[in-house]
């Protein structure tokens, strides 16, 4: 497809939706009141005009797939023959699946906790320093770039050359200058997971930081002033006032990052492709969508496992969100 064609279909695609709404509403506005005497009738046609596109998309891309995925998880690899719980039994006994669950759990334990912690500490530091907003911008920046881009950035840091060569990876250069042997960081089982997690922490700390920055302003200034006058150290204020005050926010951010981490795919796909025991659920699922021509049964089971992990956390988060809105 040439670039010109591409530009053309992009315009056409966007125009199609604008035209749909404009033309159908124009017809209703022009002829509606004359031919459809009752306002209510015209109104209900307009409701249909307004919600139909979104509802069709919602149905095809979310509602139907949920039921279809659940159905497929009980069928064979082509989705034709009912196999009962076979795919689930396979998953429980599959060492790759267990490894992925374990890795996912470690990710869930480490990344949200550390990102939230760093975010809180940095927000608190930056709040009191005149160049704090510049610092916040810099730490927030990784939020804007893609996981794959971040993967390239960090792969460059972890780059490994044999001991006889000059190291061009920053981490190995530091290690060598301290007198140790260079390491191929991403291939050391178990530890490599932490090197991948560092990337995610580097990205997600920014998210925690901006939300905490906003929340910090809600702490009454008088309370902090009073504590300072009473001679409390900044550390004491941090632990005794700020953390208890932001407890809800901390939980919200922690769950937010947890949900992002549960679905983590890109970083691992780009950096190790799940090799050297770094696989997680989303990668395993992608793998089974295409491995050996694709196995929709096993892939569906993995998708369901991810959803079961996400639902309670996101539901809790939404519940909190709605509660806050009511207040």
């Amino acid at each position: 497809m040439t670039i010109l064609n591409l530009v053309f279909i992009v315009f056409l695609g966007i125009l199609f939706f604008i035209a749909y709404f404009h033309i159908s509403n124009y017809i209703l506005d022009t002829y509606g009141n004359k031919t459809l005497k009752r306002y209510n009738f015209e109104n209900s046609i307009r409701v249909i005009v307004f919600i139909t596109p979104a509802f069709i998309v919602l149905f095809i891309f979310i509602l139907y797939p949920v039921f279809e995925t659940i159905r497929l998880s009980f069928y064979d690899k082509f989705g034709r023959e009912f196999v009962g719980l076979y795919n689930y039994k396979w998953a429980i006994n599959d060492p790759e699946f267990r490894r992925s669950i374990l890795n996912n759990l470690v990710w869930l334990l480490v990344v949200p906790t550390l990102s939230t912690f760093f975010g809180l500490v940095i927000a608190n530091l930056a709040d009191r320093i005149w160049w704090g907003s510049i610092a916040k911008s810099i730490i927030f920046m990784p939020m804007a770039i893609s996981f794959v881009g971040a993967g390239v950035i960090w792969k460059f840091i972890y780059e490994y050359r044999g001991p006889e060569n000059t190291q061009i990876g920053l981490l190995n250069a530091i290690i060598v200058s301290l007198g140790y042997e260079p390491q191929a960081w991403l291939t050391i089982p178990m530890w490599n997971n932490f090197f991948l997690m560092a990337i995610m922490i580097w990205i997600q700390t920014g998210l925690a930081l901006v939300i905490f920055s906003a929340a910090l302003r809600s702490i009454p200034k008088e309370m902090l002033e009073a504590a300072r006058i009473d001679g409390a150290s900044e550390l004491k204020i941090f632990f005794s006032i700020i953390i208890p005050y932001l407890e809800q926010t901390i939980l919200v951010i922690w769950t937010l990052i947890t949900i992002i981490v549960l679905r983590i795919f890109d970083i691992i796909f780009a950096m190790t492709n799940g090799e050297w025991q770094t696989g997680v659920l989303a990668n395993l699922m992608y793998d089974w969508m295409f491995r050996g021509g694709g196995d929709s049964g096993r892939g569906s089971v993995l998708a369901i496992v991810i959803m079961i992990g996400v639902i309670p956390i996101l539901a809790w988060n939404l519940y909190k969100h709605r509660q806050e809105q009511k207040i």
Binding site: F17, A144, I153, I157, S300
Partner: protein, 379 residues
Amino acid sequence: MKKFSISSLLSQLLLLFFVIIWIIPTFGLFISSLRDKDLLAISGWWTSLTTTEVNEIYRMSGMESQIEEDGYFKIKGKLFEDNSEKKIESFGITSKKINEFNIGDVAIFKDESEVLLDEDGNYEWRSKTEFKKKKGKRLFTTSLSPPAFTFENYREVLFKEGIGRAFINTMAVALPSTLIPLIICSFFAYSLTWMKFYGRDTLLAIIIASLVVPLQMSLIPILTIYNDFGALFGVAAKSYPGVWMAHTGFGLASTTFLLRNFLKSLPNEMMEAAKVDGASHYDIFLRIIIPLSIPAFASIFILQFLWCWNDLLVGLVFLDQVPSEIILTAKLKELLGSRGENWEILTTGAFVSMTVPLFIFFALQRYFIRGLVAGSVKG
């Protein structure tokens, strides 16, 4: 007072420490993308401002270029191209002693042949006996390369490696994938907020329930639908409109949710007054809702645009990995596999892929943060 300033200094240092840790990875990538590729391959980017000592191995010409002169067999030539700024400092003839000789020394091989080398890489080999091998002898050189920065990497990546095309493809994916949901969701959110109809609350509950469905749940069934659709109509199953609709589907629930939260906060009286004046819902939508919603639209636009721009999974599953369709993230991932050692290509490619997000980030940070804080419900 003194105690306060010490603690303030400590916090400043701690924050500085965090800032340095956070910026170094990106900074290193940026510097590397501007470095000469030969230097990039052999020295760390933190040495890019100093002169680098480069050790290289060259091979002289073999027997074909041999000439007889003054009773000697001679081979003359140059080790590297004329336009190089390299200056050779020292050289060697065995891998054990690569710095054995200085420029001007005559190096003598085991077979008693001799070689002379000048700092520009011109060599002259001579021997009493004829040279009988096709491959010439090896020379080990140590030269000093001054710092070298170049845009050559960008030219190469954009035009030769296909990153330029991938950039356009990504734009062609991200723009409609952002605008289409914005268009249809704004009407959807409007009707959910300001129109009365049977089943409205049920529909709203479905939207909120959809928020918790991770995108992985949809991949297999949608891919099957696309394949069936492609087979039925004899068209390519994976295509741009397919990706747009997939992104629209995955962003629909959160976009609608955010827009509805915003629309709900608008005063009811305004709509009622307009209705009394005879305005239709479409009039209200065009003349009241859209102007009032610009900031909300901006936040949602940025959020969804960055999401689509940075996405890998959807582009991987719903587009063919061919030059006319591959998106930046997928291309980068492909290069990580195929050109894993060519850091000039990887660093430059990554930086090109980051230009748009970084521009949005620095130009529209306020809206970005607002959208992110509000839109963190995306499932």
